[in-house]
C-alpha cells in the first residue's frame, strides 16, 4: 500500500507523492476528473469538484470508473464522504440534457418531473423558455451558453448533446520543416493537451481550456488543433504584438499562405479563413453604441475559436462566447487566475480545463528554462523615506515601488548579467523613464505605435538590443525567446498573475538558466504585496531567495 502515490483527504483534496515510482501514471489517470491546485516539489495537490466530475462525465467517465481509479492509486481507504460525493455528483449528470431542434432553437429535456419543476423555478429559465410540453422545454439557440451557465451555477449539470457545427472547410497541414528552415514537430505534452481537448471527437469533447506554462508552446497546441479540425478559425488574442506572433507562427509552421491568414486589429482589418483579432477590437463600439467588429465576427461561419490568454477574456466578450457555443472552442492560458473572480464563467462558456501540467514538470524535462527567482530588498532612499512616512496609505505603495535606490540595484544587476538578454519590467512610467534616461536603453510603453514596438521586439530577438525596458504592455503574450534575465522594478499591487506572466517572458528554453529579479523596498507595504504576488509561482514549485542589500 505504501508505494501507492495518492492520499485522499476527506475534504476532497488529493495529495500526490511525487517521489512514488508511479506518480506520473497516477497523475495521467486522475487528471480527467481532478484539478491541479498546486505543485510544489514533493507533494502535488489536486481537488475533486462538482464541475470537474461533470466534465469527466461529459467525456464518458462514470462514478464507478472514477472510484476504481482512486482505489487503484490510493494509499489508504477512500473516505466515505468522498465516495458519496463522487457517486452523488455523477448521478446528477445527464438528468438534464440539451438536444437540437432546428437551426434557431433547441430542447432542454429533464429525466424527471422534479428536475423540470426545479429548473422552471429559475427566473432566467422561465423568461427565456419559448414553450414547454411534458417532455421538454424549448429555447432559442442564442441563449444556449447563458442557459448552461445559469443551470450549472444552480447545481444542474447539463449534458450538451447538440453537435458542434463545422465551419467552412480549411485545407491546412503542419509543416515538418518550418519556413524558417527548422525541424518542427509537436511535443508529447502538446499532443496530449490536444487529445484531452479533442476527446476522440466524442460528444463532450472539442471545447475546453488548456493550461500550460509560459514559454512551453501553447500556440503550438492551437496550431495543432487548427490542422486537425481543418475548419475556418477565429483566434482572439490580447494585443497586436501577439496577433502578429500568431500570424507569424501560422505562416511558419503550417501550409497556410499569408493570404489565408487574416488580421483584425487597429492596424489592419482583413478577414481570412483563419483570422487573428484582438480582444479590444471586439469590444470597440461606434458612436451609436454598436459593436461592429463583434457583430461582423458573429456573422462569420467559424468552425473553431481560440481564446489566447483566456484569463484575460474581457467581460463583454463573454457575450460573444455565449453565442459561439455551437463551434469548437479552445482557451489557452498559463495562469488561471482572474482578479474579477470570473474563472467559472470562463470555464462554462469556453469549456472546462482539459489539460494542466505542473511548471516544474516541464522544467525538469527541459521544455521550459530553469529559472531562479530572487527577491532583492533595498531600503528606501532618505527622501523617499520621509515621503513614504507622511503619505496616505493609498499612496505609500507607489512611493515604495518607485524607490530611487532601485536604480543602483538595476545597475549592479545589469553588470552582473552583462552579455545576456535582459528585460526591465515596471508599472510606473516615470520610474521606467528615469531608468531609460539613466541607462539609455529603449523603453516600450502603451503609447508607442505598434510598428515601433514590433521593431524593438524584433531587434531584441535578433540581439541587436541587449536590454529592453517595458511597461505592463509586455506582461502577456510577447515571445522573446532569448531573454534570460528579467528585472521587475515595480508591479501591480499583489497580482499573482502578473508575476507569473512576467517570469514567463524568460522561460523559453535556452542554453543558460534564467533569473527573475523582483526589487522590493524593505520595510514597506511592497514586501507584503510581493509575498502575495509570489504565491502562484511558489505553488508551482518555484522558490524565491530573499536578499537584503544596503
Amino acid at each position: 500500500m505504501s508505494d501507492r502515490p495518492l492520499v485522499i483527504q476527506s475534504d476532497r483534496t488529493l495529495l500526490l507523492d511525487m517521489h512514488s515510482p508511479c506518480c506520473d501514471e497516477c497523475r495521467d489517470a486522475i487528471i480527467p476528473f481532478c484539478e491541479l491546485v498546486r505543485s510544489p516539489e514533493h507533494l502535488h495537490t489536486y481537488s475533486i469538484s462538482a464541475l470537474a466530475l461533470w466534465n469527466a462525465c461529459s467525456a464518458g467517465l462514470d462514478a464507478g470508473t472514477i472510484l476504481s481509479t482512486l482505489e487503484r492509486y490510493s494509499r489508504y481507504e477512500i473516505p466515505q464522504t468522498v465516495s458519496y460525493f463522487i457517486q452523488d455528483t455523477c448521478s446528477r449528470y445527464g438528468v438534464i440534457s440539451l438536444t437540437p431542434d432546428d437551426e434557431e432553437t433547441f430542447f432542454v429535456t429533464c429525466k424527471s418531473e422534479i428536475y423540470r419543476k426545479r429548473i422552471l423555478s429559475i427566473p432566467f429559465v422561465r423568461d427565456n423558455c419559448l414553450d414547454a410540453d411534458d417532455d421538454s422545454l424549448r429555447f432559442p439557440l442564442n441563449r444556449r451558453g447563458d442557459l448552461k451557465l445559469v443551470l450549472i451555477s444552480n447545481g444542474f449539470p447539463v449534458e450538451d448533446l447538440i453537435p458542434l457545427r463545422k465551419g467552412e472547410a480549411l485545407s491546412v497541414e503542419l509543416r515538418t520543416r518550418t519556413l524558417s528552415g527548422k525541424d518542427f514537430s509537436v511535443r508529447d505534452y502538446q499532443m496530449k493537451a490536444f487529445e484531452s481537448f479533442w476527446a476522440g471527437g466524442r460528444p463532450g469533447g472539442g471545447y475546453g481550456v488548456i493550461v500550460l506554462p509560459c514559454g512551453s508552446g501553447k500556440t503550438i497546441v492551437g496550431i495543432e488543433a487548427i490542422a486537425r479540425l481543418k475548419t475556418s478559425t477565429l483566434i482572439l488574442a490580447p494585443n497586436v504584438a501577439s496577433v502578429h506572433q500568431w500570424i507569424s507562427e501560422l505562416a511558419d509552421k503550417t501550409t497556410l499562405s499569408r493570404d489565408e491568414i487574416g488580421e483584425y486589429s487597429g492596424e489592419c482589418k482583413r478577414l481570412g479563413k483563419v483570422t487573428v483579432c484582438t480582444y479590444s477590437m471586439l469590444i470597440q463600439s461606434d458612436e451609436n453604441g454598436e459593436y461592429r467588429t463583434f457583430n461582423l465576427m458573429l456573422a462569420q461561419k467559424w468552425g473553431f475559436v481560440i481564446y489566447d490568454e483566456v484569463h484575460l477574456l474581457p467581460a463583454p466578450v463573454f457575450r460573444l462566447s455565449s453565442n459561439l457555443q455551437s463551434v469548437y472552442r479552445m482557451g489557452l492560458t498559463a495562469t488561471l487566475i482572474r482578479e474579477d473572480g470570473r474563472e467559472k464563467e470562463v470555464f462554462s462558456l469556453v469549456g472546462p480545463k482539459r489539460y494542466d501540467v505542473p511548471w516544474s514538470e516541464l522544467e525538469r524535462k527541459g521544455f521550459i528554462a530553469k529559472a531562479y527567482c530572487h527577491e532583492i530588498r533595498v531600503s528606501l532612499s532618505d527622501e523617499d523615506e520621509l515621503d513614504y512616512a507622511l503619505a496616505p496609505m493609498a499612496k505609500k505603495i507607489g512611493i515604495a515601488a518607485r524607490n530611487r535606490r532601485k536604480l543602483s540595484l538595476v545597475r549592479s544587476l545589469l553588470e552582473k548579467h552583462e552579455g545576456e538578454q535582459i528585460l526591465i519590467i515596471g508599472q510606473y512610467l516615470d520610474q521606467l523613464e528615469e531608468i531609460r534616461k539613466t541607462f539609455g536603453f529603449p523603453l516600450i510603453t502603451g503609447s508607442m505605435r505598434n510598428t515601433m514596438r514590433d521593431e524593438l521586439y524584433q531587434a531584441f530577438r535578433e540581439g541587436r538590443i541587449r536590454v529592453l525596458i517595458v511597461s505592463k504592455v509586455a506582461n502577456f503574450a510577447i515571445d522573446l525567446p532569448d531573454a534570460s534575465v528579467a528585472i521587475q522594478v515595480s508591479g501591480t499591487f499583489g497580482s499573482r498573475q502578473e508575476e507569473a506572466q512576467r517570469l514567463g517572458r524568460i522561460l523559453r528554453p535556452k542554453s543558460r538558466d534564467s533569473h527573475f529579479y523582483t526589487l522590493v523596498s524593505r520595510n514597506t507595504r511592497e514586501e507584503e504585496f510581493s509575498l502575495n504576488r509570489q504565491k502562484f509561482l511558489i505553488e508551482q514549485g518555484y522558490s524565491y531567495s530573499v536578499e537584503n542589500v544596503n
Partner: protein, 596 residues
C-alpha cells in the same frame, strides 16, 4: 435480602400496593405486607413471567437495561445524563415501566440496577450506542487535533476562554473534516477546560497565552492519559451529560477512561464493557511516517502523529485528516517567536531529515530578522534632572530596576517592580515623587486630535531616530514649537500647542499642513437652535448639529457624525431656578433633513 426484596422496601407504600395490585390482583385491606412481598417475589421468579417480561422490552427500555448491565448500578440522574434524555417525563415513564415490572430495581443506596434473577442477555445490546458505534474505529487524529487547538490558540491569542470558542470554532471546523461541528465543539470545550486546569493555557495581559513547557508536558503523555485528562477537568455533571457524545468523539477506548474517571467504575465492569464490545481498539494514530514535507509553497504536510507540538505553535492548521496540512505564515511564525521558539527550533522541526528547502528557509530567516529588529518593552519612562539621573544610575540597588538608560536624564524603569524602585528613590531623599502618568490621562487629548487627511487617509507618524529622542527635551520642545509656527496655520497651531503641552506631540512629522482641530464651544440656556449654530460655527463646519448632553435630557439622536468623536466641546444648561450647569458634550450628531 434479595435485590427484589430490597427494591420492594425502597419504593413507597403507594407504589408497593399498586405493584402488588397489578401483579397479584386486588389487594384487600388491611393488607399483610410480608405476604404480599412473598407473593411478588414468587411472581417474578416464575419462569413464564420472566420470559414474558423480557420479551416485551422495547428499544428505549433496552438502552436503559444495556447501560445498567454495563455499569452495574447508576443513579437516576446518571442514567438520564448518559442517555441524553431531553424529555424528562418520557424518561421517567420508561423508567417507571421498568421498575414496575421489576426489570430494574432500586438498591439500598437508591441507585438503579438490574434484577439479578433475570437473564438479560437477549435484550441488552450495543444498540445503546448504535449511532455512535458507527463511528468506531474511524480515523480521528485526536492528539494532532488537540495540538492544532493549541497552535490556533497560540496564534489567535483570544481575550478569554469564551471568546476562544467563538473566535476559533469556525476556522477549526473547516480544518477538521474528521469531526462534525458538534463533536468539534465538545472536544474543543473539553480541551479548553483541561488546558486551563493544567496551565497549558493561561490568561496574561488580557489574552490567553500558551505555555510551551506545559504544552510539551501535556502532549508527552499517551493518548489514554490525554483523554482521561480532558474528561477529568470538566464538571462531572456536564461530562456525564455528554458521555455518549464524548465516547464517540474520543472513540471507544475512551469509554474505559470514562468509566474510571467519571463513573468510578471498577475493573470488573470494564471487563464487561470489553466483552460487550464497548471497548474497541481505535485505529492506531501513530500511522506511518512515510510522508513529511515542508516545501517552498509554505505548507507542511505529514502523515504521522508523533510530531512535536512546537510544530503547531508556529504554523497555521489547514487540515487535520489522513494527512495533516499546516501552513507557515508570517502571523503564525510571529506567534511561534512569541511562544519562545527560535529560528533554529523551527528549522529543526520543519526539516527533520536535514535537507532544507531554500525558499522556505529564506523566508523564515527574513521573518526572524524582522522580528528581532523590534524590541518592545513594557516599562515606565522616568525623566529627571541630569544630576539626579547620575545619582540614580550610581545607586547599586536601583540597577536591577533600570531596563535601559535612554539619555543623560531619562530611563526606562521596570513596571513590575515600580513599588520597589519608588521606595529606593524615596529612600535616597527624593520624597516628592509624582505618580506615574498613565496613558489614560491623555485619552481625551488623543481622541480630540482628528486624523490627518480626509476620508480615512491615515498618516503614520515618523518615529524619531534615537538621536532625536535623546535630545534635551527643552531643546526638542523648541524644535517642535518652531515646526508648529512654520507649518501650521494660526488655527491649527493652537491645537498643536495643546498637544505639545499634553506630551502627545512627539515628532515634527505629526505637524502637517491643513490639519484642523475642534475648538471648545460654550452655549447657554435651552435655546436649541442657538446651541446648534454656536457649536456649528465653533467647530468650523457648516452642518447643523444636535446635542446629547451628559444630563441625559434632550437627546436628539439622529446620525452619528464620524471624525469629531471626543470633541472637546461643552454646553451650559440652565434649569428653571436659574442655576447654571456646564457639562461636556459627549456626542455630536448630524441632523437629517427631514427633521430639520
Amino acid at each position: 435480602m434479595s435485590s427484589l426484596t430490597t427494591h420492594l422496601n425502597m419504593i413507597t407504600q403507594d407504589r408497593f400496593l399498586a405493584l402488588a395490585g397489578l401483579m397479584l390482583g386486588k389487594v384487600s385491606m388491611p393488607y399483610n405486607r410480608e405476604r404480599l412481598e412473598a407473593g411478588l417475589v414468587a411472581f417474578f421468579n416464575d419462569s413464564t413471567v420472566r420470559r414474558n417480561l423480557l420479551s416485551s422490552v422495547t428499544a428505549g427500555e433496552s438502552r436503559i437495561l444495556s447501560l445498567l448491565h454495563t455499569f452495574h448500578s447508576l443513579s437516576q440522574t446518571q442514567l438520564s445524563d448518559l442517555l441524553e434524555y431531553r424529555n424528562h417525563k418520557a424518561f421517567s415513564r420508561t423508567l417507571d415501566r421498568l421498575t414496575d415490572r421489576c426489570l430494574v430495581l432500586y438498591n439500598e443506596n437508591g441507585d438503579l440496577e438490574l434484577n439479578d434473577s433475570l437473564d438479560y442477555s437477549s435484550v441488552i445490546s450495543r444498540a445503546v450506542f448504535k449511532d455512535h458505534l458507527a463511528s468506531g474505529g474511524r480515523m480521528l487524529r485526536l492528539t494532532d487535533t488537540l495540538k492544532a487547538f493549541t497552535g490556533a490558540l497560540s496564534t489567535a491569542r483570544p481575550r478569554s476562554f469564551t471568546s476562544a470558542e467563538n473566535q476559533l470554532s469556525g476556522p477549526l471546523h473547516e480544518a477538521t473534516p474528521l469531526l462534525d461541528a458538534c463533536e468539534l465543539d465538545i472536544l474543543f470545550h473539553a480541551f479548553l477546560a483541561a488546558a486551563r486546569a493544567l496551565a497549558v493555557i493561561r490568561e496574561e495581559g488580557g489574552c490567553l497565552i500558551v505555555d510551551r513547557n506545559a504544552a510539551h508536558n501535556f502532549f508527552s503523555h499517551g493518548t489514554d492519559w490525554i483523554r482521561s485528562a480532558l474528561l477529568s477537568q470538566g464538571s462531572p455533571t456536564d461530562l456525564a451529560r455528554k458521555t455518549v457524545s464524548l465516547a464517540a468523539v474520543f472513540d471507544l477506548p475512551y469509554t474505559r477512561k470514562l468509566a474510571e474517571v467519571v463513573l468510578k467504575a471498577p475493573g470488573e465492569y470494564l471487563d464487561r464493557m470489553d466483552r460487550l464490545g464497548f471497548i474497541l481498539q481505535a485505529e492506531e494514530e501513530t500511522g506511518d511516517e512515510s510522508i513529511f514535507s515542508a516545501a517552498a509553497d509554505m505548507n507542511v504536510v505529514f502523515s504521522g502523529s508523533s510530531t512535536d507540538v512546537d510544530l503547531f505553535l508556529f504554523t497555521s492548521v489547514r487540515t487535520i485528516d489522513r494527512l495533516v496540512t499546516l501552513s507557515v505564515t508570517d502571523q503564525s511564525v510571529l506567534a511561534g517567536f512569541e511562544c519562545g521558539l527560535r529560528l533554529d527550533d523551527m528549522l529543526r522541526l520543519l526539516f527533520p531529515s536535514g535537507e532544507r528547502d531554500a525558499g522556505l528557509v529564506s523566508r523564515l530567516e527574513d521573518w526572524d530578522a524582522k522580528y528581532r529588529s523590534f524590541t518592545i518593552i513594557d516599562a515606565i519612562y522616568l525623566e529627571c534632572e541630569e544630576s539626579t539621573a547620575r545619582l540614580l544610575e550610581a545607586m547599586p540597588l536601583l540597577g536591577i530596576h533600570i531596563v535601559r538608560k535612554l539619555s543623560p536624564r531619562s530611563f526606562l524603569m521596570r513596571r513590575d517592580t515600580e513599588d520597589q524602585w519608588r521606595r529606593i528613590i524615596r529612600y535616597m531623599g527624593f520624597s516628592m515623587l509624582s505618580s506615574t502618568i498613565r496613558p489614560d490621562a491623555h485619552r481625551t487629548a488623543e481622541e480630540a486630535a482628528p486624523a490627518a487627511g480626509t476620508d480615512g487617509d491615515f498618516t503614520a507618524p515618523v518615529i524619531p531616530e534615537q538621536d532625536s529622542f535623546t535630545e534635551d527635551s527643552g531643546e526638542y520642545r523648541k524644535i517642535l514649537a518652531q515646526e508648529i509656527d512654520r507649518k501650521a496655520g494660526p488655527q491649527a497651531a493652537e491645537g498643536y500647542r495643546s498637544l505639545l503641552d499634553s506630551g502627545m506631540l512627539l515628532s515634527p512629522s505629526q505637524i502637517t499642513e491643513g490639519r484642523t482641530f475642534p475648538r471648545s464651544a460654550s452655549v447657554s440656556g435651552f435655546d436649541y437652535k442657538g446651541k446648534v449654530n454656536l457649536l456649528s460655527s465653533a467647530l468650523g463646519r457648516n452642518s447643523f448639529y444636535t446635542i446629547t448632553t451628559a444630563s441625559g435630557s434632550g437627546v436628539y439622536s439622529i446620525e452619528a457624525l464620524e471624525g469629531v468623536r471626543g470633541a472637546d466641546a461643552s454646553v451650559t444648561l440652565m434649569d428653571e431656578a436659574g442655576t447654571r450647569t456646564s457639562v461636556k458634550v459627549s456626542k455630536i450628531f448630524k441632523i437629517s433633513e427631514k427633521l430639520d
